[in-house]
């Protein structure tokens, strides 16, 4: 009986830890999937696409929170004829050709500088930094009670000649930047 009780307790502890881990991993994974999914709901201007088979680049600026989750998510996937490629950048200057850029929290304290450097380039900027959308970013991940919500700044996207699908806008919170 004591053994059973002990076993149950152990199992409960294990389950709780596992759940916590899964929740954490899940959140990152969801973000990775979302990053991948953005490619489906955003159209780039023609000049941003060198040819129809050119790889679609998802870049990570700063510390990589995904590990190999993002690589695993995009592996083998295509948008039309374009395969997906994951690039990691430490500095803004390193960014050559990129379609979707995730700006890590590690470098996002002052996103304005980074965004200013990327201004007018057809790059979909994504981050989970605070008030990212209000500060000129295009899409922000918002964690709301273990759910990931989106905030989108369509004006910024429009400025970069990106077309965000109305469907995407539908599921997101549209942010209109104040100030500036």
């Amino acid at each position: 009986m004591a053994l059973l009780r002990l076993t149950t307790a152990l199992l409960l502890v294990c389950a709780a830890r596992l759940g916590a881990q899964t929740g954490k991993a899940s959140e990152t994974q969801v973000k990775a999937v979302f990053l991948f999914n953005f490619a489906q709901f955003v159209d780039w201007p023609p000049e941003a696409v060198p040819d129809s088979q050119a790889p679609l680049v998802i870049g990570i600026l700063g510390g990589d929170p995904f590990g190999d989750l993002l690589d695993a998510t995009v592996r083998g996937e295509r948008r039309g004829a374009r395969p997906f490629v994951v690039q990691r950048y430490q500095r803004v200057e390193d960014i050559t050709r990129c379609d979707i850029l995730f700006i890590s929290r590690s470098v996002a304290d002052q996103p304005e500088d980074i965004l200013a450097r990327l201004k007018n380039r057809p790059i979909l900027t994504v981050s989970d930094a605070d008030r990212f959308a209000e500060r000129g970013g295009m899409i922000r991940f918002v964690t709301d009670r273990s759910r990931i919500r989106l905030q989108i700044n369509p004006v910024a996207a429009e400025a970069a000649h990106l077309t965000i699908s109305s469907k995407l806008l539908r599921v997101a919170e549209v942010i209109t930047p104040t100030g500036r």
């Binding site: 969801v30 999914n37 039309g80 469907k167 995407l168 599921v171």
Partner: protein, 491 residues
């Protein structure tokens, strides 16, 4: 009443209504089947379209895990009351969002089935892939709709169909009531005419022709037939009348002839009677002077024999012989007349005994003649004994007389079968006669032999024939010259 006995009007109407009903029924059934099938197809297509729209709309919800938005999209299905359940599964096959709220259980499969729309367990279900840009599989939409829409439409079209069918049948009935007349009317007219002809024997009626079709031709033929029958009937009547008239004429003629015959017969009878009476009285009255002639001749011969020479006596003898012969002649005539006048008394007569008596009398009066008589015994007949004796006496005496020149005279009396009946026969082997004079034998004063050969008056056989005739019998003779004669008679 069996269908066979229905009036033709009802038959035609029933046929038309039945045919149109059957056509309507088959058409309706085919149409209903087609409609049911196409309704199901249409419903399935409609659900597929709806599924595609919802799937297209819910791509972002699935892609970015916004289940509230997904539910909102699904809740738009509220407009369709036939949607039983709608469920969005995410990429890994877990239920992501459902409609109506809290839907679960039987109608929601735990995991998505193969893509496509199909009918299952009275429901129309569909699994619609949710894809963005036609490549990225984001999840699966499940839709389940009941078939109420199909049944509602089907029921409505069924009601409409039944109403149309009822109206069409009514129209068909009314139309057939009118149209059947084109066929039944001439037939009924024909039947009416035929009935009139058969019941009233009236061949002058004619069926009215209502069209130029086969029935019209039939009517024409029928009328022609009636005309011919009428003509023939008239002709027959004419013939019958003619025949009747002819029969009447003939009857009249016959009556007239009968009348004249009767008159003739009466006249004849009267003449005969008169003749008989005349003959009798003449014969009777002739005897007295004859007796005087004979008596006075005898006196002359006896009392005046000495005064007469040989030649005178001879002449007186001749006078006496002649007057005696005349007496015999008168006797015979009297007998003949008596036979005619006498009344017949019918009784049983022993002909054999009668013949024996006659033969005995003959042998007694002329014993010098040796004639062989063969008389069959037991011959009997019914008739008048006195008259039959006269007849038999005449016949036997005849035979006796004509066998006089025969060395071995023989006379036979017997009965034989002749002409299918019994006849009496008197046969001799005497002088006979020539058959060509056979019909003259029985005439009065008809003699086939001269008095020099065989004496006689020529009245005997006439008397015999009259007796036989009066008995209702018949007499005839056969014979040849010098070969004998045979007389047959029936009674």
């Amino acid at each position: 009443m069996s269908l066979r006995d229905w009036p033709i009007k009802q038959k035609l109407t029933a046929m038309l209504v039945l045919i149109s009903g059957l056509v309507l029924l088959l058409t309706s059934a085919a149409f209903a089947g087609y409609q049911y099938w196409s309704l199901r197809q249409a419903t399935r297509d409609a659900l597929a379209v709806r599924g595609r729209i919802i799937a297209a709309n819910s791509t972002a919800s699935l892609a970015f895990a916004n289940d509230a938005d997904a539910r909102e999209i699904l809740s738009a299905l509220r407009a369709d009351p036939h949607i039983v359940a709608a469920v969005l599964y995410d990429k890994s096959g877990h239920v992501f969002a459902g409609y109506p709220a809290g839907v679960a259980g039987d109608v929601v499969p735990a995991v998505p089935g193969p893509d496509g729309y199909r009918f299952e367990r009275g429901l129309l279900i569909g699994f619609q892939p949710v894809e963005q840009s036609g490549s990225q599989r984001l999840g699966t939409l499940y839709l389940a709709s009941d078939l109420g829409a199909v049944y509602d439409t089907f029921r409505l079209s069924g009601v409409i169909g039944l109403a149309v069918m009822a109206v069409a049948l009514l129209a068909a009935y009314l139309l057939s009531m009118v149209l059947q007349g084109t066929i039944s009317q001439p037939i009924l007219a024909l039947a009416e005419t035929a009935k009139a002809v058969s019941t009233r024997q009236d061949y002058s009626v004619r069926a009215s022709k209502l069209g130029a079709d086969e029935l019209g031709a039939l009517t024409d033929a029928f009328n022609q037939m009636l005309g011919r029958i009428e003509d023939q009937k008239n002709e027959l009547q004419r013939y019958a009348a003619e025949l009747e008239q002819r029969v009447e004429e003939r009857t009249h003629e016959l009556q007239e002839r009968n009348e004249s015959l009767r008159r003739n017969a009466a006249q004849l009878l009267a003449a005969n009677t008169e003749l008989d009476a005349f003959a009798y009285s003449v014969s009777h009255d002739l005897r007295a002077p004859l007796r005087s002639i004979d008596g006075f001749s005898q006196i002359l011969l006896e009392d005046y024999a000495g005064k007469l020479d040989e030649a005178g006596q001879e002449s007186l003898h001749r006078v006496r012989a002649a007057s005696q012969r005349m007496g015999t002649l008168i006797d015979d005539l009297l007998k003949l007349a008596r036979v005619t006048r006498a009344e017949i008394r019918t009784e049983d007569v022993d002909l054999s005994g009668m013949a024996q008596d006659i033969v005995a009398d003959l042998q007694r009066t002329t014993p010098e003649r040796q004639v062989e008589f063969a008389i069959a015994p037991g011959l009997k007949a019914r008739g008048d004994a006195r008259l039959l004796r006269v007849a038999l006496d005449n016949l036997l005496r005849n035979s006796w007389k004509y066998t006089a020149k025969q060395p071995q005279p023989r006379v036979q009396f017997a009965s034989v079968e002749a002409n299918g009946g019994r006849a009496f026969m008197v046969r001799d082997n005497g002088a006979g006669f020539d058959m060509k004079y056979a019909d003259k034998l029985f005439g009065v004063f008809q003699r086939l032999h001269s008095a020099a050969d065989f004496e006689g008056t020529g009245i005997g056989l006439a008397t015999v024939r009259r007796i036989i005739t009066r008995h209702g019998g018949r007499i005839w003779a056969e014979g040849a010259v010098d070969q004998g004669a045979t007389f047959y008679f029936t009674l």
